[in-house]
Each structure stands twice: as structure tokens, then as C-alpha cells.
């Protein structure tokens, strides 16, 4: 346990780890849903500190990674139009579409701007009434309420030149899809804490009961992850499968009612394609009929764009926890953060990027066949 001194409270970390080591008697596979959690795990070598029997499988919770290629292509198409100011979060700049990315569109003269908040995009729309301003609305339940509020504001303030390119996704249907897959190995979930800050925990008891799977709402800091794992392992060892909140400082069971009401007003549930995975029923949001005028796909007639994803990228399997990033042939060879084949390599929250950043020693192809647990943390 060489790296434990790097924890914020090494003493507490040691106690949590000791408890996990003392509790576990059999192999268990836990999935952390959120990409932020994956990064904490790899960055702090948490997977190395856990008993060999506890395996962490990385889940699909990176919004940048799961945005389908065809949505990126729609964004690129819209962003290339001379009458458009295209606004996006910085994470999307280098996500590859078919052949290029937003960064390239910008260097070819497209007016692509990075904003910190969707409200910044709305401000740009007011300042540029003669141009069309489009905001790239991707993300999970944490990002959807801010984007919903922005569309609501656009309507309330009568700003006609603003629209949203929407590709929002929801976590519970993804959990459902993972659990019903025949190759599923997941026995417990560490649910994404900030998603639950908004949504609360109401959607989980039914999932936990039906699939007999413990769901522990977990935060993002190293100690949060250890505590989430500890509670999940305890449930597994006892044969329990309940919903537990290990992130009570930021998650209330009812979530954020104001945000939930806004989501209900602006969006409606729809089927959504996830990059590398395919369509998951009811797993996304689109603008509800009241706000359809603000839908960029219709405004710019890009609804028909459909794209084939590159065959060599195995991000779909990575996102479902079926393989680890370094098991992909392209990992570190034809696919690097500089020349990413898939979004899981380009996103700062993507599992492939995490492995590339923090496990550089694994890049030698020979070392890649070694079991994951044996590899050093860099």
C-alpha cells in the first residue's frame, strides 16, 4: 500500500481499506458508472489497493464519450455554416466526427466558441441578433437541467436566434441495459453522485430489487470511492441488494425538485443511441413539443445525417465494461489522445484516456498482455 500516503486522510483511507480486506471472501465485480470516478480510481491507484477479489469495471458515464458519432457530425455540419455561431463546452473540441472535429472546423474559419455555461451561449445570441447561435447540449442528468433552463430562458425572453443541438442521456436505462446484457458481469453499482444530486434516488430501488444488485450512490473523491466500494462489498457479502447513499453531503433522496420540474417542462424521454453501444430505449431526452422551435436539428435540417462508427474502435465494449481499454488493439498505437479513434480516448473523463494518462508503462505491447492488477501505477 505504497500510495496510500497520497490520500487526503491516509489514516481514514487505511481503515476503509482494512475493512474491505476483512469483509471480502469471494470475487466481486463492481461497476463505477461515472467517468469522473474512473479517473479518481486510476489516478489514485485505488484498483491496486483493493483486494484482488474486488474488480472495478468502468461504466458508460462519460457524456463526451457516449455522444454518438452522428450527433458530432451534425454539430460539425451546423458549425461550418457561415451564419452560425456554434457554442460548446471545451471537452467537445477534439471529439472526432467522421474525419474532423470542432477544433478543425474552427481553424477552417467556422465560428466555434467555447462557453463555461449554456447561459453564456444565450448571451452571445442576444449580442448577435443577426446570426444563429447554437449550443451543443450534451450530458447526463447533471448537465440537462442547466441546458433546460437556457432553452426556457430563450423562450421567456423571446430570443429567436438561439437553438439547442440536444443529445442528453439518462443513467437508469443504461444500468438496465448493462444488467440485461447476456455478457454482464456486474454485481454492484457505484452510482454517479452528482447525477443523484439532481435526480435523487427514486429511480433506483426498483432496479436494485429486480436485478438483485446493490446500488451505492458514491461521490468522486478517493475516500468517497473507497467508502462506496466498502458499502457495496458489505451488501454483496451479506446477499443484500438495496440502494444506499454514501454521498449524503451532496445527495438528498428527493434530488433537486426545482431542477426536476424544469426537466419535466422542457424535455421528454426518448430512445437514444449511445456511441459504440447503440440505441437504448428511453435512455435520453429531447425537447418537448412546447420547445420544438428551439431544436437545432430541425432548424438546420440535419436530422437525416447517419454515420457508421469506425470498426477498429472498441469503445462500445469499454463503455459496457466488457473489455478494459488496454485490451483494445489500437490502444496506444493507432489510438492516442493526439490521434483518437474513439471518444473514450479524447475525453478527459474517458476510460481509454485515463489508462493512457496514468498507465504509460503499460503501453509497451508485450506488457499489455499482463494481468491488469500486476501493472504499476505511474
Amino acid at each position: 500500500m505504497k500510495y496510500i500516503e497520497e490520500f487526503q486522510d491516509p489514516e481514514l483511507a487505511r481503515r476503509l481499506l482494512d475493512d474491505i480486506h476483512a469483509t471480502v471472501t469471494r470475487p466481486w465485480a463492481l461497476m463505477e458508472v461515472c467517468g469522473g470516478q474512473t479517473h479518481t480510481i486510476i489516478r489514485h491507484g485505488i484498483d491496486q489497493l483493493l483486494p484482488d477479489q474486488v474488480e472495478l469495471i468502468h461504466g458508460p458515464g462519460c457524456p463526451v464519450c457516449v455522444t454518438p458519432l452522428e450527433v458530432i457530425d451534425k454539430a460539425l455540419e451546423i458549425a461550418s455554416r457561415p451564419d452560425v455561431i456554434f457554442c460548446s463546452f471545451g471537452d467537445m473540441l477534439r471529439v472526432p466526427g467522421s474525419g474532423r472535429d470542432l477544433f478543425q472546423v474552427r481553424s477552417e474559419g467556422g465560428d466555434v466558441r467555447v462557453v463555461y455555461s449554456p447561459l453564456d451561449a444565450l448571451r452571445i445570441a442576444r449580442q448577435n441578433p443577426a446570426r444563429e447561435v447554437v449550443f451543443f447540449g450534451i450530458g447526463f442528468e447533471t448537465t440537462a437541467p442547466p441546458n433546460a433552463m437556457t432553452v426556457h430562458q430563450a423562450k421567456k425572453l423571446g430570443i429567436p436566434n438561439f437553438s439547442l443541438l440536444v443529445s442528453h442521456v439518462r443513467v437508469p436505462p443504461a444500468i438496465e441495459a448493462i444488467m440485461t446484457s447476456p455478457s454482464c458481469r456486474v454485481q454492484a453499482f457505484l452510482a454517479a453522485g452528482h447525477v443523484c444530486s439532481v435526480m435523487g434516488m427514486a429511480e433506483y430501488p426498483e432496479l436494485a430489487a429486480r436485478h438483485r444488485v446493490p446500488i451505492v450512490v458514491t461521490g468522486f473523491e478517493p475516500l468517497d470511492i473507497l467508502e462506496g466500494v466498502r458499502r457495496a462489498v458489505r451488501q454483496l457479502e451479506r446477499g443484500e441488494h438495496t440502494v444506499d447513499n454514501a454521498y449524503a453531503r451532496a445527495v438528498r433522496p428527493e434530488g433537486n425538485p426545482a431542477a426536476l420540474a424544469m426537466l419535466e417542462d422542457v424535455f421528454e424521454v426518448t430512445d437514444r443511441a449511445w456511441r459504440g453501444i447503440g440505441v437504448i430505449p428511453d435512455s435520453g431526452w429531447r425537447l418537448s413539443a412546447r420547445y420544438r422551435d428551439y431544436d437545432a436539428e430541425h432548424r438546420f435540417s440535419v436530422t437525416d445525417i447517419a454515420t457508421q462508427e469506425p470498426a477498429e474502435c472498441r469503445s462500445g465494449e469499454v463503455l459496457q465494461g466488457l473489455i478494459k481499454p488496454h485490451e483494445c488493439e489500437a490502444f496506444g498505437t493507432t489510438c492516442t489522445p493526439r490521434t483518437p479513434l474513439g471518444a473514450t480516448m479524447v475525453s478527459s473523463e474517458g476510460a481509454c484516456a485515463a489508462y493512457y494518462l496514468y498507465r504509460r508503462l503499460d503501453l509497451a505491447p508485450a506488457a499489455r498482455t499482463a494481468p491488469l492488477e500486476a501493472s504499476p501505477v505511474v
Binding site: 448537465t143 442547466p146 433552463m149 444530486s197
Partner: protein
């Protein structure tokens, strides 16, 4: 963008009929929408995601998280210049874009302020 960062409310006002606040994230100050936490008060902490306060947080947890994020360079990642980062990742030399040069002083100033503030926060 996944990152939700705790911040402390400095002051509260209204803009276009919306409750807004200025919020301090370990030295970086940003405008934040309070519509989803309407009873948040000056001096309180909240988890903020893409410019929206989403849930209240106690001071102790907020400080610990900010300290950790600063140590790990995550505040720089969140508030630094995304174009610069994208250019580095892409390995391109033609940054800044030629037509940005007019905007440059403003732009560089912003980036420097955010960078300095993050560094200060890291030193504290």
C-alpha cells in the same frame, strides 16, 4: 465538463428575472445561476456545474474538495483555456488562430487571471 466544483457565494443579484450569484471557486470567480437553489444565501457553499448551483454543501466538505481539486490540477483543467488545451492535444502549432489576434489581449488576460487564481489557491 463532468466536474462539479464547490464554490462560495459572494453576492446575489437578479438578471433578466433570474436569480444569479457571483461565486468563488478557490480564487476563480464566476457568475452562477441560482434558480435551482433559490434559498442559497451569501457565504454559503454549493456544488456548481456548468454555471448552475445544484446542491448545497457544508463549508468543511466544500473546502476539502476545493483543496483536493487544486492539488490535482483539476481547477486548472476546469477553468483554464480549453482552446489551448485542445491545441496541445492536437499537436498543432498554429495557435492562436490568426483571426483571434485582435481579441488576444482580452483573451490572454482572462486566461492569466484564471491561471494565477488557481495557482494561488494551490499554494494556500
Amino acid at each position: 465538463m463532468c466536474l462539479a466544483v464547490p464554490g462560495r457565494v459572494l453576492d446575489i443579484g437578479e438578471k433578466d428575472g433570474t436569480r444569479m450569484a457571483t461565486v468563488d471557486f478557490g480564487g476563480v470567480v464566476k457568475e452562477v445561476c441560482l434558480e435551482y437553489l433559490p434559498d442559497l444565501q451569501v457565504g454559503e457553499y454549493a456544488i456548481v456545474h456548468v454555471g448552475f448551483a445544484l446542491q448545497r454543501l457544508d463549508e468543511e466538505s466544500a473546502r476539502q474538495t476545493l483543496e483536493l481539486f487544486a492539488q490535482l490540477g483539476m481547477l486548472q483543467e476546469e477553468f483554464g483555456d480549453p482552446w489551448e488545451r485542445a491545441a496541445t492535444e492536437a499537436g498543432v502549432a498554429d495557435w492562436p488562430f490568426a483571426d483571434d489576434i485582435a481579441e488576444q489581449p482580452q483573451h490572454a488576460g482572462d486566461a492569466r487571471d484564471a491561471g494565477d487564481a488557481v495557482q494561488e489557491a494551490q499554494q494556500q
